[in-house]
């Protein structure tokens, strides 16, 4: 059953990323060079909508809390983010969009995937020493969240039954940012 879900949900996600323009480096680099904010508006509105609905579902008790999963916060998140940002600007792909772009028929995406396998392997070999150097030491108690999600092992910064409403308010704000951002900032029309 899980495998059927994997095929359906993965297939859906790949299809959606392509139709959203996220597998197109011109759209990604257009966003990063602030010329075409199509994807930025899509990402803001997507996170906003999904957060709004997720927390509404949690409050109504229709979302299985055990499916939530919070990633740890540690110095490597910031260092890794900075490094990934550099590579993203260079190649115009992130891991997911590179894979979809290869399915879409882009030749450069196969070079990205090949490079990705090399990068992931280098990290696999380095993990032990980076861990020993403290790069993986938890901050904010590890699985920190802003609000109380009820996720296993999570340490919410704000506790209380009202906090899911704050998450929904943040979701609504992100949706609004997505709507208000200009599509083509450079163009005055």
């Amino acid at each position: 059953m899980e495998i059927v879900f994997a095929i359906l949900l993965g297939g859906l996600f790949g299809f959606v990323l392509e139709r959203a323009g996220a597998a197109n480096p011109d759209k990604i680099l257009g966003m990063l060079t602030l010329r075409d904010l199509h994807l930025m508006k899509a990402i803001f509105s997507a996170i906003g909508m999904s957060s709004l609905i997720l927390f509404a579902g949690i409050l109504l008790g229709v979302v299985e809390i055990s499916h939530l999963s919070i990633k740890n916060m540690y110095p490597g998140v910031l260092i890794g983010g900075v490094v990934m940002g550099f590579g993203w600007a260079l190649g115009g792909f992130c891991p997911g969009t590179g894979i979809v772009a290869a399915g879409r028929g882009r030749k450069d995406a196969w070079f990205f995937i090949l490079g990705g396998l090399v990068g992931a392997f280098i990290f696999t070999l380095q993990f032990g020493s980076l861990d020993a150097a403290g790069w993986m030491t938890d901050w904010f108690g590890g699985k920190a969240t802003l609000v109380n999600t009820g996720a296993k092992g999570a340490s919410p910064l704000l506790t209380g039954s009202w906090t899911p409403f704050l998450a929904m308010a943040i979701g609504a704000a992100m949706l609004a940012i997505g709507a208000l951002l200009p599509l083509k900032p450079g163009k005055t029309d």
Binding site: F5, L9, G10, G11, G14, V16, L17, R19, A22, A23, N24, P25, L39, F44, S45, S50, S51, V63, H67, S69, I70, K71, V77, L78, I79, G80, G81, V83, M84, G85, G87, A89, L90, G91, G92, F93, C94, P95, T97, V100, A101, A102, R104, G105, D108, F111, F112, I113, G115, G116, L117, A120, F121, I122, T124, G128, L130, T145, V147, G178
Partner: protein, 187 residues
């Protein structure tokens, strides 16, 4: 079918991330590069993944990364037909379906932004894509996730790691792109 506008794209992405978390677990991609590496490495060095009844997952590895969390990655390398790995393979299939169901088949193998700056030489584009891949996956594995796992799934759940990761990525990606892909001759 036409390319979606930003709002349709937002709805499609939100639906994907919500369905995944409601039915199974949050979406993540970059870990599967490690799994595929492990599958390849195992054919050369079989001792990289060993069955071990004492390990939490039932598998262990001499490599610290594959051995972490009770050998979770080692287990997924030993059994690649698991949810997360098939999910990523299915994404490739989703991209293929999107390609064949497209009315507008236009595809710029050399991105227009790249061509405007560096011309139509494929080799330079492939070199940038390759090293982009090396750097992106190294960074994503250090951070413990990528755009899907940290930015989308993480921020959706108000994870602090998601917010800070997104900030770190854009603070670098925007200025680097502006410099790298600036219009020819200034401006």
């Amino acid at each position: 079918m036409k390319e979606w506008n930003w709002f349709q794209a937002g709805i499609g992405l939100a639906a994907s991330f919500l369905l995944a978390v409601i039915l199974v677990q949050p979406i993540g991609v970059s870990t599967q590069f490690v799994i595929l590496d492990g599958i390849i490495a195992k054919t050369i060095h079989p001792e990289w993944v060993q069955a071990d009844a004492r390990a939490k997952s039932g598998y262990k590895s001499p490599n610290a990364y594959l051995n972490k969390s009770g050998g979770k990655y080692a287990k997924n390398i030993a059994h690649p037909l698991n949810y997360s790995f098939i999910f990523v393979l299915a994404m490739l299939g989703g991209g293929l379906v999107a390609r064949v169901t497209r009315k507008d088949k236009t595809l710029h193998q050399i991105p227009e932004i790249h061509a405007a700056r560096f011309g139509q030489t494929p080799v330079l584009r492939y070199v940038l894509a390759f090293f982009g891949g090396v750097i992106v996956l190294w960074g994503a594995r250090l951070a413990g996730g990528c755009t899907s796992g940290h930015m989308m799934s993480g921020m959706m759940q108000t994870a602090i790691s998601g917010y800070l990761f997104a900030a770190a990525v854009f603070v670098v990606a925007v200025p680097v792109s502006l410099i790298l892909y600036r219009a020819k001759g200034g401006a």
